[in-house]
């Protein structure tokens, strides 16, 4: 019963935040500013039956799931995200750890570290 209550609280906060976000986006007119694009490739028609100009390399646009299959792209995406997280962890944990070690050393050996 207690757990159900807690779940309901979490979902209520989630719903309230969601409603606020929807209201904010609708109020700013964000949802109506969608560009006129339905996902279909543009048709290039030539004049009087001739084939029209088609930009180079624009045959097909890769869809989700197709892009990474050839060149190990999925590995790149995953590695990139892991590197970002690792960098953040290193940048935060390392200075903290160095400072803690310095403090420890100062407590153990106060004379050498200038602590009286």
């Amino acid at each position: 019963m207690k757990t159900i209550g807690r779940i309901l609280i979490i979902l209520a906060v989630f719903s309230a935040l969601s409603a606020l976000m929807v209201l904010a986006v609708n109020a700013s007119g964000g949802s109506s500013s969608a560009p006129d694009f339905d996902g279909a490739p543009p048709q290039f028609e030539g004049q009087e039956g001739r084939e029209g100009f088609r930009p180079e390399g624009g045959e097909t646009r890769p869809e989700f799931g197709e892009r990474g299959e050839r060149g190990g792209g999925w590995m790149f995406g995953l590695t990139k995200n892991l590197v970002v997280i690792s960098l953040l962890v290193t940048l935060i944990v390392l200075p903290k750890s160095i400072a803690r070690n310095k403090k420890k050393r100062a407590i153990i050996n106060p004379v050498n570290n200038g602590v009286s």
Binding site: R6, F14, M21, G30, S31, A34, F64, V84, L91
Partner: protein, 172 residues
């Protein structure tokens, strides 16, 4: 008596650890929809709502304690953690709601069609990138706990297996 009170805490820590590992891996997979495919991206993200609720339930006592004593004497680290966790929750909600608004597979599969909005797509991308940064900071702030839990529930049991085998070999 001590063992009786210690056992549930230990098993809860273990559950927390493996759930967090699961959430972390799922987050990495969902962060790259080009490789996983849009269907996995959407269904896994929706499933993550459930795991996030369990994650919050497992840390409920800490949330309540900090909420009631936020302006009291709780320490700088705890206060930063608390604010960061709220930011993560708000950002997670934004990722979810914007993802639902631009859903191409999951929502149409249950018969719901929402008008596509360019703003929602941009919000989804921006909040996901912000989420990655917040998750990195969240991981960094809990690094001590992560290391201790891994040491206790992964490294030590494996090392224990080898040392037991060595002892058995030596006895033979």
């Amino acid at each position: 008596m001590a063992n009786e009170t210690q056992r549930p805490v230990t098993s809860q820590t273990k559950t927390k650890l493996w759930l967090d590992v699961l959430i972390f891996i799922a987050f990495l997979v969902t962060m790259d929809p080009h490789s996983s495919g849009i269907a996995i991206h959407e269904w896994l993200s929706l499933a993550m709502i459930g795991t996030m609720v369990v994650h919050l339930l497992l840390n409920w006592d800490w949330i309540i304690q900090l909420s009631s004593r936020f302006f009291g004497n709780v320490g700088k680290q705890n206060r930063i953690n608390y604010i960061l966790n709220w930011l993560l929750f708000i950002d997670g909600t934004l990722i979810m709601i914007s993802g639902i608004m631009i859903s191409e597979v999951a929502l149409p599969a249950v018969g719901i069609q929402l008008p596509a909005g360019f703003a929602w797509r941009r919000l989804h991308d921006m909040s996901a990138n912000l989420g990655l940064l917040l998750l990195g900071i969240h991981t960094a702030l809990h690094w001590g706990w992560i290391l201790t839990a891994f040491q206790r529930y992964l490294v030590q049991p494996i090392a224990g297996l080898f040392s037991t085998k060595q002892k058995e070999d030596a006895a033979l």
